[in-house]
């Protein structure tokens, strides 16, 4: 089985679940002898760009360019990897695209360091300086590249992850007449509720309609696809995400700097969709009741500044910490340091981070508005908007060790079922059905 996959970012630069899912899934597919030609939008010297310009509070890890290339070589399991020079990146919006494009252009102008881009037989397509003026024209340009690649490459199915690559998938399908699978990790409905961008919504719908089969990351997402995008439920398959157990790090909790304090963690993009403001308000309520607790908000995003100001206004700066965007090792360390993980998402198609937290045997609270809630029976679920309920649940867990124990005792059993191998098996089956039908 050969697949032309339009995917996203790779470790150690991962800005969210989309990158994590692409990585976890394709790694397991490769183990099942699926030959993947992986197409990845990427700016030359992106690592330097990130280090130099990324909108972060505090630098996570500044990896050297060579380190990253080394890491990628070691971890690459693709038959072929094609880097398309494009400023498309996950979670970019209309506004942030323009900002990022400016930075990219400036970076490319200033950059004296020329990176060698082809390694072990992979190649990159350089259309630099020619980027789309706005996000949608860049998506269109990327689609043309998709069409071009589909003539050159040899594959049986096309697999496109999330809306920015859907058009490329459709163009590749039109050109090659091979079946197209679109993988929906999030929709405009999740990101913006009913007030999303109509053009993006239309693009998503177009991709879903043209696709032979659709993979949704949860039943929740399938429902959205069927109800909001009016797609025939028979072509929508649910494949839940998994969690990579290998990443779990060892951390000696005795070396924790805040020995007397419990740590409650939020880890994710700081955007409306993820509900970080509810976490902050709940933290404030908790701190009015109990003292020996610290709240940590890890990540970056367009709401960061607003939340920092809110935190300052509430005068809880001695109990509430922002870490900024974190690299992989700091993420793992932070999970290990924590006593409770909260995912208060307003709308979460899946939500891998609670699973990542569970690897460290810590209890989690998730919002009812998340896809992963379908799978987890031993976690506490609250409505994202119910900050009083969230606050009292936090206090309950922190103050009652027996509750904590009962919440975590089956963690390993549950996680075993959340293997990327299982997800990859289902995806492979979908590939096979597509090929048979074609």
């Amino acid at each position: 089985m050969k697949v032309l996959m339009f995917g996203w970012e790779f470790p150690p630069y991962i800005s969210g679940g989309l990158g994590t899912a692409c990585y976890g899934l394709s790694k397991q597919l490769a183990k099942k002898n699926v030959g993947i030609t992986f197409v990845l939008p990427r700016i030359k010297g992106e690592s330097q760009l990130q280090a130099a310009h990324d909108i972060r509070i505090i630098d996570g890890h500044n990896y050297l360019c060579e380190e990253i290339e080394e890491f990628r070589k070691k971890t690459s399991f693709f038959e072929k990897e094609i880097s398309v020079n494009s400023p498309l990146r996950p979670y970019i919006s209309y506004e942030t695209y323009k900002e990022y494009l400016e930075k990219v252009k400036k970076f490319e102008k200033d950059s004296v360091l020329k990176m060698v881009h082809s390694y072990h037989g992979n190649f990159s397509i350089d259309f630099s300086g020619d980027y789309g003026e706005d996000l949608l024209s860049e998506v269109g340009r990327f689609a043309m590249i998709g069409r071009y690649l589909s003539q050159k490459e040899d594959f049986d199915v096309i697999h496109a992850h999330d809306w920015m690559t859907f058009l490329a998938g459709v163009e590749a399908k039109n050109q090659s007449k091979k079946p197209l699978i679109v993988h929906v990790h999030a929709t405009e409905i999740d990101r913006c509720g009913e007030h999303g961008n109509q053009e993006i919504f239309n693009l998503e719908k177009y991709g879903m309609e043209k696709a032979d089969k659709i993979i949704a990351v949860s039943n929740r997402t399938k429902d959205i696809i069927v109800q909001h995008y009016r797609i025939n439920p028979n072509k929508v398959y649910v494949v839940h995400n998994g969690v990579d157990m290998e990443d779990t790090c060892y951390y000696d909790r005795n070396t924790r700097p805040f020995k007397d304090d419990k740590i409650v963690l939020y880890l994710g993009r700081i955007t409306m969709q993820k509900g970080p403001d509810y976490f902050l308000e709940a933290a404030n309520l908790v701190l009015q009741r109990i003292q020996n607790v610290r709240f940590v908000m890890a990540g970056s995003g367009d709401m960061t500044r607003k939340l920092i100001e809110r935190m300052a206004t509430l005068r809880i700066a001695d109990r509430f910490h922002f870490t900024g965007f974190l690299g992989k090792s700091d993420r793992e360390k932070l999970f290990a340091m924590s006593d409770l993980y909260i995912m208060p998402s307003v709308s979460e198609p899946f939500g891998i981070t609670p699973l990542e937290a569970m690897r460290y045997n810590i209890p989690v609270i998730i919002s009812k508005q998340s896809g992963v809630a379908e799978l987890l029976t031993n976690v506490l679920k609250v409505d994202f908007w119910d900050v009083h309920r969230l606050a009292s649940t936090i206090i309950n867990i922190l103050e009652k060790p027996q509750l904590k124990n009962s919440l975590t005792e089956n963690n390993w059993e549950i996680l075993k079922k959340m293997d990327w191998g299982i997800a990859a098996q289902k995806v492979l089956q979908i590939y096979q059905e597509c090929v048979l039908a074609a």
């Binding site: 505090i58 630098d59 700097p257 300052a312 001695d318 910490h321 360390k333």
Partner: protein, 400 residues
């Protein structure tokens, strides 16, 4: 009737914190300051400003045989940095003071906002500065100016109680009303104190507008400027030209001609027989106050607002200030001079200046030697450091 031109220069640089001080640093890492950055900035300013300007000032003092006279306030934290990174600069200041034509002015050692939060701490920092100036330069100061010319009635009376004879403030309409800044006044709350005001138009012509090509008076020559200064004759007695010392060579680079301007200025000003240069205490001794100044609210020389809004007013600045000063008791209870010194260096006003969001979208003076990309970064680093200090105190069994 003679007119005195009174030059006063602020010489100060903070101990900047490490931009990389993040959440994971809290606990294991007690090194807050970025020695490399501070050293780099100090060497750069020393080369571009302090050394060449001090040399020029020394030449001018010698050339005019004592007729050219100036004053400085050199903060304690910059004195420490001179000792650490640029001892030559300190030597050149000593040479200037030794001419007898230079007056040194007292301020809070840490160039802090402590008067706003703690009168005890204020006194301690003033004494610390007084002692440092005495120790290093062998002189006693009789003139005081608070951080960034932050001033009000209450401050004046506190300063009077500390034994000072003269105080400096911003000559802004808010406190002057219809009156001219070009006279000696006295604070309504401290009648024995002489109050010297900054002539902000003439001061800012040099400090901010000198190299501005969009300014209709560009280019500014010493002759033209001297004419403006001479125009005061007959309706003023003293002209307070107060500015950052970094104006020379740093805010205005050498290639703008600022040094040539300064070099030519004394001759042009002294060409008028009624004009002379005097230091603040000399001015205070020579002129009687013409009236009281009533300043209930704080004024300062910062930004166009000339109030406290450069350092305080947004929730980040306010919460940072509260959190820092809440540690005063616990830090002092530690009886650890190093810890107290570390805490006090965090009180330096620049840390709050970096968190200002007023014109954060435009380039402005808040960017001078500002290590941060934005006020939010500055706030997070500062708060992280305070959290580590708090943890240290807690580990020593001190409640805070």
């Amino acid at each position: 009737m003679s007119v005195s031109v009174c030059f006063y220069f602020q010489v100060h640089q903070p101990f900047r914190l490490r931009k990389s001080y993040n959440f994971f640093s809290i606990g294991p890492d007690h090194f807050y300051e970025d020695d490399q950055v501070n050293r780099g900035i100090m060497l750069k300013i020393a080369e571009k400003c302090y050394l060449p300007t001090n040399q020029l000032m020394l030449d001018l003092i010698k050339r005019y045989n004592g007729a050219f006279r100036i004053s400085y306030s050199i903060s304690g934290v910059i004195l420490e940095q001179f000792q650490l990174y640029a001892p030559k600069v300190l030597d050149s200041f000593k040479a200037l003071v030794d001419t007898g034509c230079v007056e040194l002015i007292n301020e809070t050692y840490y160039h802090s906002l402590c008067f706003l939060k703690s009168k005890d701490e204020f006194k301690e920092q003033v004494f610390a500065h007084k002692n440092a100036i005495k120790r290093i330069f062998g002189v006693d100061c009789t003139t005081f100016r608070n951080t960034e010319l932050i001033y009000n009635n209450e401050l004046a009376s506190e300063v009077e109680k500390l034994g000072y004879k003269t105080i400096l403030a911003e000559g802004i309409e808010r406190i002057l009303g219809w009156r001219s800044p070009n006279f000696v006044y006295y604070p309504v709350s401290a009648p024995k104190l002489k109050l010297l005001l900054k002539n902000y138009r003439l001061s800012d012509d040099i400090a901010f507008r000198f190299s501005n090509r969009g300014w209709h008076e560009f280019p500014l020559t010493a002759e033209k400027y001297a004419n403006w200064v001479h125009a005061v004759a007959g309706n003023g007695e003293v002209i307070g030209l107060f500015m950052d010392y970094e104006t020379f060579g740093e805010h205005q680079w050498a290639d703008t001609g600022i040094f040539n301007f300064l070099n030519a200025l004394p001759e042009k000003i002294l060409a008028h027989p009624d004009y002379r240069f005097q230091t603040p205490s000399e001015v205070a001794g020579n002129y009687s106050p013409v009236g009281p100044i009533d300043s209930v609210h704080y004024v300062s020389w910062a930004d166009i607002d000339r109030d406290l809004s450069a350092w305080l007013g947004n929730p980040m600045q306010d919460s940072a200030l509260e959190m820092a000063y809440a540690l005063e008791g616990p830090v002092k209870n530690s009886n650890d001079p190093n810890l107290i010194h570390t805490w006090r260096k965090l009180l330096t006003s620049d840390h709050y200046y970096y968190v200002c969001t007023k014109w954060f979208n435009d380039g402005d003076v808040h960017k001078y030697f500002n290590p941060y990309d934005n006020p939010y970064d500055a706030y997070m680093v500062y708060i992280n450091v305070l959290n580590d200090l708090k943890l240290t105190l807690k580990q020593r069994g001190i409640v805070c």
